[in-house]
């Protein structure tokens, strides 16, 4: 897995370090560094928890999503 952290965006909160079940990240100089990217199994919990949206995974399998609320999405499409 190719994991990238936007160093400028990362606020060094360490939430991804704590939350990742595979211990992929380490905080180094107050920035998260993916030290074990090959241990990543693509759950994307880190994306959900990162307050800075600083993470990027390349090569992840995107699970099928059925839970998007159709009515909300229709409204959003009209607005955006």
């Amino acid at each position: 897995m190719d994991i990238r952290v936007d160093k400028d965006a990362c606020v060094g909160c360490g939430l991804c370090v704590k939350d990742c079940p595979m211990h992929v990240y380490e905080l180094q100089n107050k920035v998260s560094v993916p030290v074990r990217p090959n241990n990543c199994m693509g759950c994307l919990s880190c994306h959900e928890i990162c307050p800075a949206q600083a993470l990027e995974h390349r090569g992840v399998y995107p699970a099928r999503r059925h839970y998007i609320d159709i009515k909300v999405c229709e409204m959003l499409r009209k607005v955006i």
Partner: protein
Amino acid sequence: MSAGYIDELHDAFHSDLVYRSEDIPLDCTPKPKEMEQTLHGVMKLNGLVIRSLEEIAGRGANAVTYRAGKKFGHEVAKYFQKREDVEGALHELSDLLRGQYSFEVWKPEDKETFIIEENGETFIYLVFHDCIVRQTLRRNGLDQGGPLCQTLFGYVVGAIEEITGRKAKLEIVHTGPNACLKKLVLK
């Protein structure tokens, strides 16, 4: 109720189709796109049933749904080829689950093989990617890992037991928004 409305209803449910008992429908009707609302309805209903079950049965809800899933797994896998090798059994299982769940065997980078022996236990890590249960829970704002997940657990365990003839157990290692890691313990 007006006569016009009743006529409209009759028209809506009348067709000129000739249906014979040997006519086996080969496609779903309507097209999947048109079934989105139905799918959402089913997911909402499932979520409500699970929430109510948890409210009434508390922690016992997990045992109920696990048992239901396990029975279902045994029932469905009865018609599948019996396999002694775990790899073959997992292959059968992925055929069984196709369309609703997809999974792959997985190992951390420090492990040599997919079948791992540790602390007297033999297990395999499974990463579940597509999962209708996860979709349902997130659709309803419910936590992952609760009674609805237990149904899937029971189902996998029941199917593996039926196919291999060995006792098995499934443990949650992690639940995520895009994939979940589970440990299939073989006995």
